[in-house]
């Protein structure tokens, strides 16, 4: 597949699968039919001469293939008359415009999103299914992105689809009563995909750009389909503001560069502005949720022209608000760092000490790393080195380790300056 065709596949696959799932009553069959339609396109379209509306062509072809299946299989009997009628209306050889095909084949990606992110599915299955059906990633691509062997990923997808089918996870947008919880579940899946890409918790690459891009796409899709959800806007704003820093986060030898030391001219301003605009809209009209607050924190960084100009007091205040909606030890750790950066160094350190003693973040490399950084700032290089050593024993990814090793060496040099 060439680049243009891959882009088309990524853009149109989800709509096809979503609509076909309604028609065929099976996500698995829908995926197969959508796949067949793209294969037909690949064979039948002359290179560089695509039909006027590729989408309409794909829909028409997929409908025919769906109908073929219905004719072959009796258990789709109930759907047959409906499909036959639709096949006739779509048979116009002149082809339909995008608008006409949309009228006949409505966008049902929202249903697909809620089904793929249903809480009855394991989180890793939700993630894999969403990337497969909504982002049009192949099973191989997903397996590679999550560093999982292909058969494992393939089986994960098959099992999830079996559960959807057999336990009957519904294919619909949840009703009002269920909606808040279910939107929350969808947001959690999108944010997990983003974080897996952005933080790259394992492996050698610091940022797995592909996953960030796909999370942004899912976030955009959700905002487009549910324009009034402020939490969806907040999440998209948060991801955009973080992602805008992508290029500046890694040094030439692949080591992590802290926010403080990033070359801010390498930040993607257009992306940042988009995030800031979205955040503004997400913050209007009600108390902010966790995503909006995290985006607001990212926005304070985005607005600072230089690290030294960062309004840490405001960040600490935002973390205090976040701690109310999301009282987790990680939020508390970040609040402590913000307080320390705002001038209350010892106060920040004492909060971290307390967190450390509580054992709540026992296996979390960021705690000793943050502690080390604050000790360093306080000029206490020897204890800082000890904390860097501890962080190193917990850090998994290559770039993070290289950063910590470098800091450890420096801390040791500062503690024992050669005379």
């Amino acid at each position: 597949m060439d680049t243009a065709f891959t882009a088309l596949y990524r853009a149109e696959f989800s709509r096809l699968v979503a609509g076909l799932t309604s028609m065929l009553g099976s996500l698995h069959a829908a995926e197969e039919v959508a796949q067949e339609a793209f294969e037909a396109a690949l064979q039948q379209w002359p290179a560089s001469r695509w039909p006027p509306s590729p989408r309409a062509w794909l829909i028409r072809t997929a409908r025919h293939k769906a109908l073929d299946r219905v004719r072959r299989r009796t258990n789709f009997e109930g759907k047959r008359a409906e499909l036959e009628a639709m096949a006739t209306t779509l048979d116009d050889p002149a082809g339909l415009s995008d608008e006409e095909s949309e009228r006949l084949f409505p966008d049902e990606r929202l249903k697909l999103l809620f089904t793929c992110c249903h809480p009855a599915l394991a989180m890793e299955a939700r993630v894999a299914l969403s990337l497969r059906t909504l982002c049009g990633l192949t099973t191989e691509e997903i397996a590679r992105a999550f560093l999982v062997p292909l058969p494992t990923m393939a089986q994960r997808l098959v099992r999830a689809k079996q559960k959807i089918h057999t336990a009957r996870i519904p294919y619909r947008v949840p009703d009002e009563a269920l909606l808040p919880d279910r939107v929350e579940a969808v947001l959690a899946v999108i944010y997990l995909v983003f974080n897996e890409g952005y933080a790259a918790s394992s492996g050698e690459e610091r940022v797995r750009a592909e996953l960030c891009d796909q999370a942004l796409r899912l976030g955009r899709t959700l905002c487009e389909l549910m324009p009034r959800r402020r939490d969806a806007q907040g999440l998209l704003a948060l991801m955009l503001l973080h992602d805008a820093r992508r290029a500046a986060r890694t040094g030439p030898s692949g080591e992590a560069i802290l926010l403080e030391h990033q070359d801010r001219s390498r930040w993607d301003r257009a992306r940042m502005d988009e995030g800031l605009r979205l955040l503004e809209s997400a913050l209007s009209g009600g108390p902010p949720g966790a995503y909006e607050l995290q985006a607001a924190i990212a926005a304070v960084h985005a607005r600072a022209a230089a690290a030294a100009e960062t309004d840490w007091a405001q960040i600490a205040a935002l973390y205090a608000l976040l701690a109310r909606v999301q009282p987790t030890p990680v939020v508390e750790l970040n609040r402590a760092v913000a307080l320390a950066m705002a001038g209350a160094l010892e106060h920040g350190l004492s909060i971290i000490e307390a967190l450390d003693r509580s054992g709540a973040l026992e296996r979390y490399a960021a705690l000793p790393a943050a502690k080390a950084d604050l000790l360093w700032r306080a000029g206490r290089y020897r204890p800082a080195a000890a904390e860097y050593r501890r962080a190193l024993s917990l850090a998994a990814s290559g770039p993070e380790r290289r950063f910590l090793e470098r800091r450890l060496e420096e801390a040791l040099r500062k503690a024992d300056p050669p005379c």
């Binding site: 009553g25 009855a120 089918h165 057999t166 009957r168 619909r172």
Partner: protein, 125 residues
């Protein structure tokens, strides 16, 4: 579509409650059962005796082996079940959430396997 709602809870914790509390819980279960019946959702269900009265049976090399107690020693035990009719998993989950023990125990929602009668296959969405 039928689902079995398996009710797991801590028996020791229940035994430690006062008579009045146990009666209140029982009344709540009776009310739920009646209302499921009236809604046409109930297909069956039973309360079960506790682990002390449970025997686990296995056949190995042709001999019947019996052991005292449930198959797995866990803090929460199977104490009863409902068989309900529900349109889909969302409805079954909503019914499960109405079971009193969902508040302090857990309810396992299991789809019942359809028998192979033509037309009785699980309908698709």
């Amino acid at each position: 579509m039928e689902y079995v709602l398996l009710i797991y809870r801590n028996e020791a914790e229940l035994a430690a409650r006062s008579d009045a509390e146990r009666q209140a819980l029982f009344a709540e279960y009776m009310a739920l059962t009646r209302s499921l019946e009236q809604e046409g959702k109930l297909r069956g269900g039973q309360f079960l005796h506790g682990p002390a009265l449970t025997t686990t049976v296995r056949v190995r090399q042709g001999s019947v082996l019996a052991t005292d107690g449930p198959f797995a020693e866990t803090k929460e035990q199977l104490t009863g079940f409902y068989v309900v009719a529900a349109a889909d998993l969302d409805e079954a989950m909503a019914l499960a959430a109405r079971i009193p023990s969902a508040r302090d125990g857990s309810i396992e929602v299991r789809p019942v396997r359809a028998s192979h009668v033509p037309g009785a296959e699980p309908a698709t969405y």
